[in-house]
């Protein structure tokens, strides 16, 4: 049964169909929200709300326009942005480019320390740069799907990612 058919089953209250979809998409959506929120206490609420909307608003999903994972990422992304706005934690978009440095990156930290620093540094990026990097680097989303969620062009998305990665690299270099 395709995902579109499973979503269709939701309108008749089919919990089995919902369970299948939940099992397929819970891990990636949780990973996305966790990285966007940096393990914030509200992460679980946002994940729950995302999947509640699949249950209550599943009929709004159009399989001709997007994959279900893109649709769910879009909902989760918007909930994260709403949360940042509500809590005034929005890092504004930067227009100036970072200096282009290509120095060798020295890996001296343990795995755990690295992960912690990456999490902290990601949170210091402007929200759109962070979202772009998380969607394409971590979530394995295509550039077109990520561009749709961020309501921008593929070229602009690539620019966001390049600037985000440059800044992230600088931030991480200062921590080692």
């Amino acid at each position: 049964m395709t995902e579109a058919e499973l979503v269709e089953q939701l309108s008749s209250g089919d919990e089995d169909a919902y369970r299948i979809l939940l099992d397929r998409h819970l891990a990636p959506i949780t990973a996305y929200v966790t990285r966007m929120m940096a393990s914030n206490a509200d992460t679980e609420d946002i994940v729950q709300e995302t999947f509640l909307r699949l249950w209550t608003h599943g009929t709004r999903y159009n399989p001709d326009t997007a994959k279900l994972t893109t649709w769910l990422h879009n909902i989760a992304h918007n909930l994260c942005i709403d949360h940042f706005r509500k809590h005034n934690r929005m890092v504004q978009e930067e227009t100036a480019d970072e200096p282009d440095e290509q120095e060798a990156f020295v890996d001296q930290l343990t795995h755990f320390e690295n992960a912690k620093h990456v999490e902290q540094s990601l949170m210091q990026l402007p929200e759109r740069q962070r979202s772009a990097i998380i969607m394409c680097h971590y979530q394995g989303m295509s550039n077109r799907d990520a561009a749709v969620i961020l309501e921008t062009s593929v070229e602009a998305l690539e620019s966001l990612m390049a600037r985000g990665r440059r800044k992230l690299r600088k931030l991480l270099e200062t921590k080692i």
Partner: protein, 141 residues
């Protein structure tokens, strides 16, 4: 594909060619084979990408049950859950039919006790009156 576009891809998508756009990947790899500057850029960024990959989001398996528990329930399920909130699934599996079957009986008893009134003798005089079928009006005179 040219040198400049390849550097753009590396800077935007990273050093792992699996993350490069599918439609440009093959051409980019061919360009990379003959582009020493791009290969050096990849060498320089490898450890940065390794640091990014070290950040693995922790799974939250308990969320599954929380999400399923939040689903809108039918009114009958809500009623039964309200009546037996602490029963585990196996016990509820047996108890739900029993309780559901007894509901008409309970409903009948409640209706019966509220719709039909019975004269109850409150005092000993009333009891005597009822037993003896005595005409109380002549007694009062």
């Amino acid at each position: 594909m040219n040198h400049s576009r390849l550097l753009q891809l590396i800077n935007a998508y990273g050093t792992n060619s699996d993350r490069w756009p599918e439609e440009e990947r093959l051409a980019a790899l061919q360009q990379l084979a003959q582009d020493s500057e791009a290969r050096q850029a990849i060498v320089n960024l490898k450890s940065f990408d390794a640091a990014l990959d070290s950040y693995v989001a922790a799974p939250a398996p308990h969320l599954r049950n929380m999400i399923l528990g939040n689903l809108r329930k039918s009114w009958i399920d809500s009623c039964i859950e309200w009546l037996m909130p602490s029963f585990d699934e196996l016990l509820a599996y047996f108890w739900r039919p029993v309780l559901a079957a007894s509901l008409p009986l309970i409903t009948g008893l409640l209706l019966g006790s509220s719709l039909f009134t019975v004269d109850i003798a409150d005092t000993w005089e009333d009891e005597i009156e009822l037993i003896a079928l005595y005409d109380s009006s002549s007694f009062n005179e």
